[in-house]
């Protein structure tokens, strides 16, 4: 029987993969993609809790839809910024974009 724990485990694994990507990917594009993974792990969590704990309400699902919408907007903005950065610096490597320090 597949229960709540299984869903949560999958979500946790996806979240961890995403986090690993955010921290290690060399390009900003990769980091953005990893962030999407983390967001979706959260979505899975939301829907899991909603389904198993409060099945009579659809709060979690509605939240997930919101997250997806916001994530889409975020990606649009993020990619636009990546284009600007590439235009300016001729690179999208996260390690090279380190001027914001002392």
């Amino acid at each position: 029987m597949i229960g709540m724990a299984h869903f949560l485990t999958v979500a946790a694994i996806i979240f961890a993969i995403g986090l690993y990507g955010v921290l290690t990917k060399r390009t900003i594009i990769g980091i953005l993609m990893s962030i999407e993974l983390m967001l979706n792990a959260v979505n899975i969590n939301l829907i899991t809790f909603s389904h198993f704990i409060t099945p009579e309400a659809l709060t979690g699902q509605v939240f997930a839809i919101f997250t997806i919408t916001v994530a889409a907007a975020e990606v649009a903005v993020g990619l636009a910024m990546v284009f600007r950065v590439y235009h300016d610096r001729n690179t999208v490597h996260a390690a090279r974009l380190d001027e914001m320090h002392w």
Binding site: L23, I31, A94, D98, M100, H101
Partner: protein
């Protein structure tokens, strides 16, 4: 009725000159004629109101025991309450009339004296501000209001001494006056704070009601210290020894200022303060003795300096200090009546003499030394008459104003202490001598051909004539109308004239004047011979007992020396050790911490998530509260 109106609108008296100050100071400064007109109109109005108050006090039987007090709350916080208001009793009514009258006359006089001066408008603005502050001080209902106006008159004094601010000596004198009086004001402020702590109120009426019971319960020791601290204020403001040094230098200001502020009104603020707080001083015999002795010493000391001074205004300044000493002496022996009486007559004759001196200086610009003048009586008859009246009044020759007030002081002193009486009589001898010397040297003798004197213009003659009349009748009329019934503390004392005291002082004054005539008038005794004979005395007196030099030496040695020590400490200890250590610490710490701040986005992310994991671990594993919750859920 007018006196009713004046009594209930007495708050207008200081407010009118304050308006004049604002209008003249901010809008009309460039229009001399309008500035003078506005200031004088406002002064006239406040003088008329003051007269109304004076008349109302008599008509409505307001005495010192049942004053008319109106006040509004000003500052009100827990444990502290201060009002602004009007305190009308015979003493303040007398002061109101005197101050507003002298202010009015001096402003009229200034029309002529300051004509054509670049700072004409500014001068009238300052005079108005001064009149407003002084009148506000006179009607103060509590120590806070009094202190505020006290400082305001000090500010006006500073501004007006330094009126010719491109003269170095004027600037220095202004600073000296401000700083010297500030030393006294510091004591006054501490004394006021002590009163607030001891009694929980600063209101004159409430204090007067509670002080006697306090003295009965707790004795006088602490209160004597408080009273002496408060007395430091009058020592500074009224030029008592040892803080008298600023007053002679204050003569750097224009002469009308010397007449108004540094002779007739502001410098008597200290005397007025002691009289106003007499409920406090009168129950403290030790404090009274200090006041009496300081007053007597100052009177004698200043008179002995005036002996040898050559600058016409400085002679008058030292005589002012001396007369203020008289007033303090009268207060110290317990006679508010005599002190206030002398304050009033002194305001008339000293303002008169200063204005006459101003007329002389106006006629002979760039001259201060009395020995470069001489024979002015032919060309300046009105001024000569005014100065003569002033000299006779201050010397105590009957029936001039000074005779009655001085006699009252001498009588009050004679009843209390013989040594003080002796000092007072010696002082009156010296006073008569140096005033006669001034009069004879300036106005008698031969005219100097290089001088081209002229009589003062009409606007300057009118105040001279008015004050001259007052200096003649200002003593007898109050005396005949029972001045002491009104202006008093405690029960009224009818002393009248004690003929032995009066005759002694008159004879002594006449003797002194004759002596002055023999030395400076007909030259029977040569003054330079005397000065050579008593060389040491002459030098000490001429150099004002070297007090200024002493203060300067003290300042150079101790204050500057202390400053040098502090500077050395600053350089070799604070800067070399403390600051270096304190400054290098953050730098070193920063060097360690800033390595983490490398701009790498992913490093930041790692730290953030690592920290978050640590927080979660801490919450779940180490926090007993969360253990319970976690255990319950799974």
């Amino acid at each position: 009725m007018f006196n009713q109106y004046a009594l209930h609108h007495a708050w207008l008296i200081p407010l009118l000159p304050a308006f004049a100050f604002i209008f003249v100071g901010f809008f009309l400064r460039r229009l001399p004629a309008v500035a003078g007109f506005v200031s004088i109109c406002m002064s006239l109005l406040s003088f008329i109101l003051s007269l109304g108050v004076g008349y109302g006090v008599i008509a409505r039987q307001i005495t010192v025991d049942n004053p008319l007090v109106q006040k509004i709350p000003w500052v009100s916080i827990a444990g502290f309450q201060a009002d602004m208001g009007v305190y009308v009793d015979p003493i303040s009514a007398m002061m109101l009339v005197v101050v507003s009258l002298v202010a009015l006359l001096v402003q009229i006089y200034s029309l002529g004296y300051m004509r054509g001066d670049n700072g004409f408008g500014r001068f009238f603005a300052y005079l108005s501000l001064f009149a407003a502050s002084m009148l506000g001080l006179v009607i103060a209902v509590n120590f806070v209001q009094l202190f505020v106006f006290w400082e305001l008159v000090g500010l006006c004094s500073y501004l007006l001494i330094g009126f010719y601010f491109n003269k170095v000596s004027a600037r220095e004198a202004a600073k000296k006056a401000f700083i010297t009086t500030r030393i006294g004001d510091f004591g006054l402020l501490i004394g006021i704070l002590f009163l607030q702590i001891l009694f929980g109120t600063l209101d004159f009426q409430q204090l007067a009601a509670t002080v006697p019971t306090y003295v009965m319960q707790h004795g006088t020791a602490l209160l004597t210290i408080v009273a002496l601290l408060i007395f430091l204020g009058p020592i500074g403001k009224s030029g008592q020894f040892p803080l008298h040094v600023w007053l002679p230098d204050a003569m750097e200001g224009p002469t009308p200022v010397s007449a108004l502020i540094h002779a007739a009104t502001m410098v008597v603020a200290g005397v007025y303060l002691v009289a106003r707080a007499f409920f406090l001083f009168s129950v403290l015999p030790d404090a009274m003795a200090v006041i009496a002795w300081i007053g007597a010493f100052t009177a004698c000391f200043a008179a002995s300096i005036a002996f040898t001074q050559r600058d016409i205004k400085r002679i008058l300044a030292y005589s002012t200090i001396s007369q203020l000493g008289y007033m303090m002496l009268a207060l110290g022996v317990g006679s508010v009546t005599a002190s206030m009486f002398h304050l009033m007559t002194h305001a008339f004759f000293k303002a008169l003499m200063f204005l006459a001196a101003g007329a002389v200086l106006h006629a002979l610009p760039e001259k201060n030394d009395i020995f470069t003048m001489g024979g002015l009586r032919h060309k300046m008859p009105v001024t000569f008459a005014a100065m003569t009246i002033g000299v006779l009044a201050i010397s105590g020759i009957p029936p001039f104003a000074g005779f009655f007030s001085k006699d009252e002081i001498l009588l009050a002193v004679a009843q209390v202490s013989t040594p003080l009486y002796t000092i007072a009589v010696v002082t009156s001898f010296m006073t008569a001598f140096y005033m006669a010397r001034l009069l004879i040297v300036v106005f008698c003798g031969e005219e100097k051909p290089e001088n081209q004197p002229h009589e003062a213009p009409l606007s300057m003659r009118i105040p001279l004539i008015v004050l001259g009349v007052l200096a003649v009748i200002g003593g007898y009329i109050p005396y005949a109308n029972n001045f002491g019934d009104w202006v008093r503390f405690g029960a009224a004392v009818h002393e009248g004239i004690d003929f032995s005291v009066a005759a002694t002082s008159t004879v002594i004054a006449i003797l002194a004047m004759c002596l002055a005539w023999f030395i400076y008038g007909n030259g029977m005794v040569r003054s330079d011979k005397i000065s050579r004979r008593f060389r040491i005395f002459y030098k000490v007196s001429f150099h004002k007992y070297y007090i200024d030099e002493l203060y300067l030496w003290f300042n150079h040695t101790f204050v500057d020396g202390f400053g040098k020590l502090l500077y050395w400490l600053e350089l070799h200890f604070v800067e070399a050790i403390l600051i270096k250590v304190a400054a290098s610490l953050p730098v070193k710490l920063g060097n360690v911490v800033r390595k983490s701040q490398n701009g790498n986005l992913q490093r930041y992310g790692l730290v953030m998530f690592g920290a978050m994991i640590l927080v979660v671990v801490w919450l779940v594993l180490l926090n007993p509260l969360f253990n319970g919750v976690a255990g319950g859920a799974y």
